[in-house]
């Protein structure tokens, strides 16, 4: 089975057909996706802005991450679930769209950036946790993270304009 067959099978599956045709298929999934993605971005941005040294400077970084990361992960799970449902509605349309591929690539890069941060400067967090301006290395990780996530949002929104037979934008 090649990619085209698999995509066609996903689209013609019961769930794919439902997501494409039912009045309560695509619309609630997209609304859930927006509520979730804004929370993923909002919570990550708050931490990144602290790492860069522009916001919430009175809080140690560890206080912020402890408070915000549960929100990030719950919202991310909802975004992945709702995004997967939207994907089923027109799997091949998404799969071949440049914007969709860029979005997926950037999410992977955000993950790599996060892992590198945890293996790198995060190990010595006790040295800079409460510093008003964290070390340059930390600030660069924060800046890269927020730029990646802003790009994810842009490519995500442009998918809606790129797909043929696109959902209403």
């Amino acid at each position: 089975m090649n990619a085209a067959d698999l995509l066609a099978a996903l689209e013609s599956s019961w769930l794919g057909t439902y997501m494409r045709e039912a009045p309560f298929g695509f619309v609630p999934a997209e609304i859930a996706h927006i509520l979730a993605l804004t929370l993923v971005f909002g919570s990550i941005a708050m931490v990144d802005l602290r790492l860069v040294g522009v916001a919430a400077l009175r809080q140690p970084v560890s206080t912020l991450t402890r408070e915000l990361l549960p929100i990030t992960w719950i919202a991310f799970a909802v975004a992945v679930l709702s995004g997967s449902l939207m994907f089923l509605a027109k799997a091949s349309g998404y799969y071949y769209a440049f914007e969709f591929r860029m979005k997926m690539l950037l999410i992977v890069l955000a993950g790599v950036n996060m892992i590198a941060f945890h293996l790198g400067p995060y190990r010595s967090i006790q040295n800079w946790d409460a510093q008003l301006a964290p070390p340059r290395e930390v600030r660069i990780f924060g800046l890269i993270s927020i730029l990646i996530w802003i790009s994810v949002i842009f490519f995500g929104r442009f998918i809606g304009f790129a797909l043929e037979m696109a959902p209403p934008r």
């Binding site: 609304i31 929370l39 919430a56 809080q59 929100i71």
Partner: protein, 166 residues
């Protein structure tokens, strides 16, 4: 209700320029989404703390001082990109009831938040000393969270219903 306004706006040079530049709408919508992330993120973090849900141990007045400037700044960006989108597609926005409901909810949530922010500043000591979460804070949190979700839902619904009202 705003049909004649929509028709007039559609004929203005700025609207015609936006209609002809295909990148304007998706770019403005993307910035709009980034700003929703900041505003909704700030509102959820603040309101979870007021409801006593989650791990936040920050003082209420401190949370307001940290988050509210971002909320107002984000709201300003939302207003500006919203104006761009309304000039780019006047009929889509101004003829759709969901747009009107959204604007009413934005106005209400902005006024309620402004008044609550003033009250927290005035009674800083009581808010920070409160051992349990005060009922007034919980009420504010439930009302504004519902409004923010309603605003986002109506905003997206415009895309699905506007052609019915054109």
């Amino acid at each position: 209700m705003f049909r004649s306004l929509a028709d007039w706006m559609a004929s203005t040079p700025i609207s015609l320029a936006f209609q002809n530049a295909l990148w304007v709408i998706p770019t403005s919508q993307s910035i709009h989404l980034v700003a929703i992330g900041i505003v909704f993120g700030a509102a959820v973090i603040l309101n979870l703390r007021l409801l006593g849900i989650g791990r936040s141990t920050r003082r209420v007045s401190e949370l307001f001082d940290t988050l509210l400037p971002w909320l107002w700044g984000g709201l300003t960006v939302l207003l500006l990109t919203g104006i761009v989108q309304t000039f780019a597609e006047p009929a889509r926005q101004l003829k759709t009831p969901h747009f009107l409901w959204k604007m009413v909810m934005v106005l209400v949530v902005a006024i309620v938040t402004f008044l609550f922010q003033k009250s927290v500043r005035r009674h800083k000591a009581q808010w920070d000393a409160a051992a349990a979460n005060p009922a007034a804070g919980k009420l504010f949190a439930l009302v504004t969270l519902s409004l923010w979700v309603g605003i986002i839902v109506c905003g997206r619904m415009i895309a699905y219903v506007w052609e019915r009202y054109e």
